[in-house]
């Protein structure tokens, strides 16, 4: 399946396409799917044990028959608001709804404990919205800047970019470097299952016709991410919230705080965008960097950790601004920087849209529609959060076990609908076992997924590069620069691992 956007560039300037995309997003059924996505993201953000990336994977089977813009409105609408509502449980209960909402606890929860829950929620939700708008604006502005750069790239540069993305995800995502690279190599290997694109001969098919088409992305993602999380949910019977919350008042004070401390909000949003751009850094890292920056530059650093409004604003604004930044390499180069972006890249492939230069020329309307989806979904999410704050809080009393039958059914159907074949469910179970082993033994899953998604593209670009330049393609200036950056990333990670090991040894010695 391939998608054809309305022509951009011939008689339609960038500005026209930009505002045309807004009209498309506001039309039926795109607007309806956007609202539905926001609604799902809303609940997912607040619910225990259900992450944004897993939900993205669970929603992939629903987009098969959609056009790209409605599909991205649905998926991105959901993903863009997960972090926003994840902040609510961080403030009220000191339990993050999402991994990216941990820093909100440091000051948001102490504020709630001293009776300022409403103010903290007002501040964190408004700063999240400001951050999201800034991230989306940077994505929009980057289009004319990125276009000449992307169009000047050839197969060698795109191949090295794919390698660089994977190297960064391995090096910066934490954990062990060797295990990270091994997972990436396994991901490439699994991506090779099926007919060889150059000879038409089956590879790793074991005589099974089912494997000739290769493994579909949906059962693999569901297995790697949804199965281990569901198993864990089955093991925890408790609800996220155990007690009652205090009164939620002074929300308007919190909203105004965002603008009283506009400098913190803007600076931390900028940090989010920048970190989002770098593959592998992710939201979990961004929130702590922004928080540390806000503390270092504050006139009252001693209040951080005890209920500082600046700390809340820093955590809130960085949370959503990173999404716009993370979309830039995903859309422009086809190199996703995080698990969620890799799943979104999978959505591109399902919809027949190839990320890269075409997203800045032929499919510019899709890129700009993503900008509008981020903005509109966050405006909706924040407005609805303020309107239904009390009802949202009551969601946190749902036990994890109540979600289990629903998740199992959704996962099974998600895998099954790929080809209406039970073997897809078997693939999901097999990768579920791999995913659980990976979590159990500390092997990161993100490099595997990234390599699996990028595998066919990387193989094609390597083949073309070798055809065009033999091994000389490795000596082209941009390729050399990218190799240098990748080596720096690896070097940094090795240094960090050694430092971690050194710091552990004295601690163990002292404990002994």
């Amino acid at each position: 399946m391939s998608y054809h956007s309305p022509p951009a560039g011939h008689g339609r300037g960038i500005i026209d396409v930009f505002f045309g995309s807004l009209i498309t997003v506001l039309q039926w059924p795109t607007a309806g799917l956007l609202v539905l996505g926001v609604g799902i993201g809303f609940v997912v953000g607040i619910l225990p044990g259900l992450g944004g990336a897993v939900t993205l994977a669970l929603l992939l089977p629903f987009i098969y028959d959609m056009d790209p813009i409605p599909a991205f409105a649905f998926l991105l609408g959901m993903h863009a608001v997960v972090a926003t509502t994840g902040d609510i449980t961080s403030v009220l209960f000191g339990i993050p709804g999402e991994g990216t909402a941990v820093a909100t606890i440091f000051d948001g929860h102490p504020m709630a404990k001293r009776g300022e829950a409403g103010r903290a929620l007002g501040a964190v939700l408004t700063s999240s919205l400001v951050g999201a708008v800034i991230g989306a604006a940077v994505l929009a502005i980057s289009v004319p800047i990125m276009r000449p750069l992307v169009l000047s790239f050839g197969p060698p540069e795109f191949f090295m970019l794919a390698m660089l993305g994977i190297t960064f995800v391995v090096a910066l995502a934490g954990g062990n470097l060797v295990r990270g690279f091994l997972m990436a190599f396994l991901g490439f290997l699994i991506a090779m299952v099926g007919l060889d694109p150059f000879t038409g001969k089956p590879r790793f098919a074991f005589g099974q016709l089912y494997l000739w088409d290769g493994l579909s992305i949906i059962p693999v993602i569901l297995g790697l991410f949804a199965v281990p999380e569901t198993l864990q949910l089955m093991s925890t019977h408790a609800a996220i919230a155990q007690g009652a919350t205090g009164p939620i008042t002074r929300v308007m004070d919190g909203i105004l705080d965002t603008f009283r401390h506009w400098s913190v909000t803007l600076r931390c949003s900028a940090i989010g965008v920048f970190i989002g751009l770098i593959p592998g850094m992710g939201g979990a890292t961004a929130q702590f960097i922004a928080y540390a920056h806000a503390q270092q530059t504050s006139k009252t650093p001693e209040e951080f950790g005890r209920g500082s409004i600046e700390g809340v604003l820093a955590a809130g604004s960085v949370n959503n601004s990173k999404e716009g930044g993370a979309l830039i390499p995903t859309v422009a180069f086809g190199v996703p920087g995080s698990t969620a972006m890799a799943i979104l890249l999978g959505a591109f492939l399902i919809l027949g849209v190839v990320p890269g230069p075409q997203m800045l020329t032929k499919h510019l309307d899709i890129t700009f529609s993503m900008v509008w989806v981020i903005v509109i979904s966050n405006v909706l999410a924040v407005a609805l959060s303020f309107l239904f704050l009390r009802q949202l809080v009551s969601l946190t009393f749902i036990k994890g076990t109540w979600l289990v039958p629903f998740l199992l059914v959704l996962m099974t159907l998600g895998a099954y609908t790929t080809h209406s074949d039970v073997l897809d469910v078997v693939v999901m179970i097999v990768f579920g076992a791999v995913g659980w082993c990976a979590v159990r033994f500390g092997w990161p899953r993100a490099p595997f997924l990234l390599a699996f998604v990028l595998g066919p593209t990387a193989e094609r670009y390597l083949f073309l590069s070798h055809q065009l330049y033999e091994w000389g393609f490795l000596l082209r200036p941009i390729t050399l620069a990218l190799i240098g950056i990748a080596l720096l990333g690896v070097g940094y990670s090795i240094r960090r691992e050694r430092a971690d090991r050194r710091s552990r040894v004295p601690a163990q010695g002292a404990a002994a």
């Binding site: 091994l182 396994l186 060889d196 289990v404 039958p405 059914v409 099974t412 099954y416 159990r440």
Partner: protein, 159 residues
């Protein structure tokens, strides 16, 4: 880490598990390298060799490291899964395989919520009915997606 007999045996098992997983990865990579280099042209195995050769070196290194490891790595909290969770998950898939998904949905929801979650029968039954209705209306009636049938034909119930 627990130092009692149970904790110790669990730790030893975890250490062996990590080594076994590393060995499995090495075996998969070795097989891939063998298959690629015995049945493909040089051009076709370009990418595969670029992947498998460094991967084999790293996998061998990882196996050696796991074999030398004396203290097992701590189990991350997100990997702590109870035995009953595994059993329930297996029960779900076995049920789907034998009687099909259409019957498994309400049956599993009812039994799981009553026995595993300790909910009252009426609550569990209401959930089971809603879950079945949701799947029937969304997937079967609206999206026209046929649900996987079971190995045991149950036409009298499902039709």
């Amino acid at each position: 880490m627990s130092t009692g007999p149970t904790g110790l045996s669990r730790g030893v098992l975890a250490g062996r598990g990590a080594l076994l997983f590393s060995l499995a990865v090495l075996a998969v990579l070795a097989y891939a390298a063998y298959e690629i280099n015995t049945g493909f042209t040089t051009r076709a195995r370009l990418f595969a060799n670029a992947i498998t050769v460094p991967a084999l070196v790293l996998a061998a290194f990882q196996v050696a490291r796991e074999a030398r490891r004396v203290i097992p790595l701590p189990v991350p909290s997100e990997a702590v899964v109870s035995r009953s969770a595994f059993i329930w998950a297996i029960a779900f898939f076995v049920s789907m395989w034998t009687i099909g998904l259409q019957l498994t949905i309400p049956l599993f929801a009812l039994v799981y919520l009553r026995l595993a979650a300790g909910e009252a029968w009426p609550k569990a039954a209401a959930y089971a009915a809603i879950a079945w209705l949701f799947v029937e209306l969304t997937f079967v009636q609206t999206l026209h997606i046929p649900l996987p049938a079971g190995a045991i034909p149950l036409p009298a119930i499902t039709n």
